[in-house]
Amino acid sequence: MKNISNLGDAALYCDFGIEVNKKINSEVIKYFKAIKEKNIQGINNLTPSYNKLIISYDLRITNFKELKDKIEKLDIKEAEKVTNKKLEIPVCCDDSFSLDIERVKKKLNLTRDQILGNFFNKEYFCYMTGFIAGMPFLGDLDKNMRVQRLETPRIKVPKGSVGITEQFADIYTFESPGGWNIIGNTPLEVFDSSKEKDPNLINSGDTIIFKQITLEEYKNYNEQ
C-alpha cells in the first residue's frame, strides 16, 4: 500500500497505485481479506477495487487518525489461505442478446467471429464486484478488443447481459441502467439474494472462462 488519506470524515482511502493489473489488485485483496478477518471495531464496510481499498467506519466508534494508525500497524504479511475458484460461465451471443455487436464491430474494425473468437478464447481474472449487487469486473481483454463505453448509457440493460468496456468484461446480475457494450447473455444466476452467506457466484480473485452456447442450450439451461 502506498498511502492512506481520508475520503470524507468516515472512510480511509487506501491507495495501492494508479495502474490496473493482477499484482496490484492481489495486494488490495490481500489487505481486504486480512482486515475483514481481524474484525476491527468501528469498521462497517470495506470496498476493494482495482487498485484502491476504501475502509468505511462508524464515526461514533472511531475516527480517521485512530483507524489509520491501526491499519498502518497491521501485520498483513501472514500467508492467507487461497480459496479462489475457477468457474465456467455459459454465454449465448444470439442476435437478440448481443445488443451492441454492430457498434463493437465498427469501433474495433473486427468481424463478429473475430470479436467472439477473442472474447471466448481467454481466461479472465475477477478484480472486484459491485456497482450493482454481485456484478463482477473481469479482465483483461486484449488491446485490440478495447472499446469505450456507450456515449449514452442504456436506461435498462437486461439481466444476464455480458458487456465489455476498455480492458474489462462484466455481467449485469439484474436489470439495471448501464453503459457497457453488450455482446451476449448468460442464463446463470450470478447473484442470488436468497443466499445470505454467499450471494455472489463470482468473487474477487476468481478465474473465469466464458463458454459459448447456442440459443437452444440457453433456453434449456434452467430446465435441466
Binding site: L7, G8, D9, N45, T129, G130, F131, M135, S193, E196
Partner: protein, 314 residues
C-alpha cells in the same frame, strides 16, 4: 396470521420499510440503505416507545393513505409532514412528533412532506417484516429487503406482528433545521477540476434536480470543468460522495447508491449534514461550504449529542 394490519388505500410515491440498514456488504455490491434521515427515524421509534432500531415506514413527498384494522395502537409521524387522522366522523390535523392512538377502522392520510422529502411513520409495536442481512430495508433497485424488495402498492396489507402493552402518549418539540450550507470535505480528485470549476463548486448555488431518488441527488447549475480526466479507474463509493461526470453536473451519492463508480470525486458531504442534505427537495437551492476533517469530526460529535438529547427528552 396477524389480525392487526394496515390496508393500503393509496401507497404514495415511494413508500418502503426502512431501519438502520446493512453493514459490511459493499464488497459484494450491496449498499447500506436504511432510513435516509437517521435522526427522524430514531425519533419516530422513540415516540411510540420502541427500541430505536425497529423498522418504520418511510415515505417521500406524498405518503400513504392507510386504513387500520385491529386492536388499539399508537402511531407517530416524524419529519416535516402534513397529515390527517380520520376517526369515525372526525377528521383531525396531525402534528409531527406527537403520538396518536388508532382504533379499528381509523385512517391515517399522509398528504405530503412540507418543503422536504422524507418522513417516517412508526407504530407502538412491530411490523411483520422479512430481514435480509439483518435489515428489513427495502432497496427497490436490487430488490433486496422486506416486501420482496419492492415499494408498497395500492391494496396491499401491512401486517403488524406485535403491539406493545404500554400505549402511553408521547410528544416532543422539534423543528427540522432549515438548510443554509451543506458542509463538504474536499474529495480525492479535487485537483481534477479547473480553478473556475473549484470556485463555482464552493461559491455558486446549485438546484436539486427532479431526477433525484434514494440512490443519488443530481444537481444543476454552473458546470464544474474537468481539466485532467473525466473518468477514473472505478473504485468504491460512499453515501455523501459528490461525483462529477463529463457533463459537469455534480451527483451526490445517497443511501441506495451503486457501490462502485468511475467519475472523479470533487468532495464528500460531512456526516453531520447528511440528514439535512437528503431533505432538500427538487427545485430547491443548495450551496456547499468547505471545511476540514477535524471540524467535520467536531460537528458530528455535536450532531450526535443533540440527537441523543432529543431522544432522552421523549
Amino acid at each position: 396470521m396477524s389480525n392487526n394490519y394496515f390496508e393500503i388505500i393509496r401507497a404514495g410515491i415511494n413508500t418502503t420499510f426502512q431501519d438502520k440498514g446493512r453493514n459490511n456488504l459493499y464488497h459484494i455490491g450491496i449498499p447500506f440503505s436504511g432510513a435516509m434521515d437517521n435522526r427522524n427515524y430514531l425519533l419516530a421509534n422513540k415516540l411510540v416507545g420502541n427500541n430505536l432500531d425497529l423498522p418504520v415506514i418511510e415515505f417521500a413527498y406524498q405518503g400513504p393513505l392507510l386504513k387500520y384494522n385491529g386492536d388499539k395502537i399508537n402511531i407517530a409521524v416524524t419529519g416535516d409532514v402534513i397529515f390527517e387522522l380520520k376517526k369515525k366522523d372526525n377528521k383531525i390535523q396531525g402534528n409531527c412528533y406527537e403520538s396518536y392512538q388508532l382504533e379499528n377502522g381509523d385512517e391515517i392520510d399522509i398528504l405530503s412532506t412540507n418543503k422536504s422529502v422524507y418522513g417516517y411513520l412508526s407504530i407502538s409495536g412491530e411490523y411483520n417484516v422479512k430481514l435480509q442481512w439483518g435489515s428489513c430495508s427495502i432497496n427497490t433497485k436490487a430488490n433486496i429487503g422486506s416486501n420482496n424488495g419492492k415499494k408498497f402498492d395500492n391494496g396491499q396489507k401491512i401486517n403488524i406482528s406485535k403491539i406493545n402493552l404500554n400505549q402511553e402518549k408521547k410528544k416532543t418539540n422539534y423543528l427540522n433545521s432549515k438548510v443554509e450550507n451543506i458542509r463538504v470535505i474536499k474529495g480525492t480528485n479535487f485537483d481534477y477540476f479547473s480553478e473556475d470549476g473549484k470556485k463555482n463548486f464552493f461559491e455558486k448555488e446549485f438546484i436539486v434536480s427532479k431526477l433525484s431518488d434514494r440512490m443519488g441527488m443530481r444537481l444543476e447549475g454552473p458546470k464544474i470543468e474537468n481539466i485532467v480526466n473525466t473518468n477514473i479507474k472505478s473504485e468504491g463509493l460512499l453515501k455523501g460522495v459528490i461525483q462529477v461526470p463529463a457533463d459537469g453536473n455534480p451527483i451526490i451519492m445517497l443511501s441506495d447508491h451503486g457501490t462502485i463508480g468511475g467519475y472523479p470525486k470533487i468532495g464528500v458531504v460531512v456526516s453531520a449534514d447528511y440528514d439535512r442534505l437528503v431533505q432538500i427537495s427538487p427545485g430547491s437551492k443548495i450551496k456547499f461550504k468547505e471545511i476540514e476533517l477535524s471540524d467535520a469530526e467536531t460537528l458530528f460529535k455535536l450532531y450526535e449529542m443533540e440527537t441523543q438529547n432529543l431522544i432522552s427528552q421523549i
